[in-house]
């Protein structure tokens, strides 16, 4: 983060089109989700189970990873390990190059966005084609995705039509979503039919059997995991679940929380290589890239339970106004505000833990019960400890501690506040204070009362 969340948010708030797109979109998904969740009388029991399964996995992650590695190997696949983004990029590039292919089709995956895999592969001379409709829109526009689930949530149909007209050379296209989707289908079908290598992420990976699960809507996930000869799947080390049966919990939690559907159109679960069916060469890249740092913080650890449903984005009053780009990360919204600073280090994203009003709506909807407000507060403390908070704020807090530490100093400060505030107060409110614009720019202060409680008490 070079500019920080407040600067980026300020800019996003000026874009009225963006705010309208976001307002409509988040409201629609929020309502759908609420209906889908209300249908399940055992929703809270499912959340409790989901949270506990993730807790079990995280507390014994090394064992589960080794079990997964052995199972993938036994099923005919190969497991690679990558400490960071650069290492993962190099591993994937080497696998693709080995096949002789110069092009790979890719199914939407946040993990690969996180490590900027497309850029590493481009640098290695490999073209990556995004096959998810929204990701394709972002790729053609040269923009970053702005929502976990609906990456092009910031674009409306007219903007998309103009983009497709240019990209596909089809000046006849209208802004009807059916027609736009058809154009993308035709464009991508041809890519699929000649693709020899595919790259995917994973929603879940099963330690016991080495199976990998991809949850999707469009069918591009099925194509990528079925059609090409070689499949490379990049998996964050936190994506494991112990057994296939554990999927019965997450395959209920995820679709209802994310798209508000009873079930997403397609879920694919595959195990290594199946002779005569699907890719005959299968590679898994297990990625750390900061996850072990998150694991090492006991308060922050539950962040790794996230199943990327994006329910917390859609209920967040901050996200609904600023949109995803302001978070400066592929993980926007409340989950991004806690995940990004932990993955990159709090110094690198010191404003994100403050991108929240701590209203708690995110915790309420989280299908794996991540207490996001608690982690936000914890990270704010870490930001202050790291010295990355604003210098003026630290000076103010020190002065406050000094003042509050002594009864006489406190009384004197109250008197001074009354005098000093008088020139700025109008109708009992202070709207602006010189030097404290960052605070008063968005808030009015009450003028200091003529009499303090203590003064009143003494004269009583």
């Amino acid at each position: 983060m070079t500019t920080g969340f407040p600067a980026a948010a300020q800019q996003a708030l000026q874009d009225t089109q963006l705010r309208r797109n976001l307002g409509n979109a988040t409201r629609t998904i929020r309502e759908k989700r609420a209906r889908a969740v209300a249908e399940r009388p055992d929703w809270e029991a499912l959340r409790a189970a989901g949270s506990a399964i993730k807790r079990r996995v995280l507390r014994h992650l090394d064992e589960y990873l080794l079990q997964f590695e052995a199972a993938v190997g036994a099923a005919g696949g190969t497991v690679h390990w990558a400490r960071d983004a650069a290492e993962a990029g190099a591993v994937v590039a080497a696998i693709v190059r080995e096949t002789g292919a110069r092009e790979a089709v890719k199914v939407k995956s946040l993990t690969t966005d996180e490590i900027r895999l497309n850029e590493s592969l481009a640098a290695a001379g490999i073209d990556v084609v995004e096959t998810d409709l929204a990701e394709l829109i972002c790729q053609l526009a040269g923009e970053e995705p702005s929502h976990i689930l609906v990456p092009a949530i910031h674009k409306n149909r007219v903007e998309i039509r103009d983009l497709f007209r240019r990209a596909f050379g089809r000046s006849d296209l209208s802004d009807d979503p059916n027609e736009l989707a058809d154009a993308a289908r035709a464009h991508l079908r041809e890519k699929f039919l000649r693709a020899r290598v595919a790259i995917s992420g994973a929603n879940f990976a099963v330690a016991e059997t080495g199976s990998v699960c991809v949850v999707e809507s469009e069918g591009n996930g099925r194509f990528c995991t079925t059609l090409p000869d070689t499949l490379v799947t990049v998996v964050g080390i936190e994506k494991l679940v112990p057994t296939p049966e554990d999927l019965e919990v997450f395959l209920q939690l995820l679709p209802r929380s994310s798209t508000g559907e009873r079930m997403n159109p397609y879920t694919t679960l595959w195990t290594g290589v199946t002779p005569g069916d699907g890719p005959q060469s299968f590679h898994v890249v297990l990625l750390d890239n900061g996850r072990t740092d998150v694991l090492g913080d006991e308060v922050g650890r539950p962040t790794l339970a996230c199943i990327r449903c994006s329910a917390c984005l859609n209920v967040c009053p901050v996200y609904a106004r600023t949109g995803g780009h302001a978070y400066g990360s592929v993980y926007p919204g409340p989950i991004g505000a806690i995940l990004t600073p932990q993955l990159r280090g709090v110094e690198e994203a010191s404003t994100l833990p403050y991108a929240s009003s701590l209203c708690g709506a995110c915790y309420e909807v989280c299908p794996v019960m991540i207490d996001i407000p608690r982690v936000l507060v914890h990270l704010r403390a870490r930001v202050v400890e790291s010295g990355a908070s604003a210098r003026s704020e630290r000076a103010a807090m020190r002065a406050l501690a000094w003042t509050f530490g002594d009864d006489r100093r406190y009384r004197r400060a109250q008197k001074m506040g009354r005098l000093a505030g008088r020139p700025f107060a109008h109708d009992g409110l202070i709207a602006r204070l010189p030097g404290l614009g960052a605070w008063t720019g968005t808030r009015d202060l009450r003028a200091v009362r003529r009499q303090t409680f203590r003064e009143w008490w003494e004269r009583r």
Partner: protein
């Protein structure tokens, strides 16, 4: 790359210094108080859920499957279908040309109008068809590339909710690593202003022939 492996494992063990050494994974309690057998899960619920997705459901007796499959194909304007080699003769569409899959490539599959397959089981609560490449289902590619998928489900294959289905297919995953596909309605996207559009990549039309015993 084994240096990466060793280092990641070491980082994990360092990060988990607070976990007691003698704690086993199963010591971490997982409460499973959710419903495993959905009482509402009936064939009627299954049909209702499918129709919510816009799926056309043809309900027939065991002796009328061929005709119903044929009707489904004709209803979608399909003249030529692909079927897995082990799809029972009585389940192939009448008066529609059926190509038996003997390893067709993707481009050849793209040229047929529809795929006709059986299913492993189905989930009432979510209107889901589960395919596990078992009898009558063929390769994964078969039910993916053609624009129409007609799936034949026997009423007794319908189970209650997701847990019941997962428990049934887990055995096959464990024993033989069978690939599993859950299909709930036609391919869809809501990527453009959240308007639901059917069929970006997978079959744009998904019909079910439900066979009552």
């Amino acid at each position: 790359m084994s240096a990466a492996r060793e280092e990641i494992l070491r980082r994990i063990r360092d990060a988990l210094a607070d976990v007691p050494r003698d704690e086993a994974p199963d010591d971490v309690d997982v409460p499973r108080e959710y419903e495993v057998h959905d009482p509402e899960a009936t064939v009627a619920r299954f049909v209702e859920r499918l129709r919510d997705y816009g799926t056309v459901v043809h309900e027939v007796g065991a002796d009328a499957v061929s005709h119903a499959v044929g009707d489904a194909c004709r209803g979608r304007g399909v003249a030529r279908v692909v079927v897995p080699a082990d799809l029972p003769e009585a389940w192939r569409p009448d008066e529609v040309e059926a190509v038996v899959d003997q390893g067709l490539d993707a481009a050849q599959l793209d040229d047929v109008g529809a795929a006709v397959t059986a299913a492993a089981l189905a989930i009432a609560e979510t209107g889901t068809i589960v395919l596990d490449c078992g009898p009558g289902q063929g390769r994964r590619l078969l039910s993916l590339v053609p624009d129409v998928h007609v799936c034949i489900v026997r009423a007794e294959q319908v189970v209650g909710g997701v847990p019941a289905a997962i428990r049934l297919i887990s055995a096959g995953v464990r024993e033989s690593g069978r690939p599993v596909t859950f299909v709930s309605g036609p391919s869809a996207t809501s990527d453009i202003e959240l308007s639901r559009v059917e069929g970006v990549h997978g079959p744009r039309r998904f019909d079910v022939v439900l066979v009552h015993a």
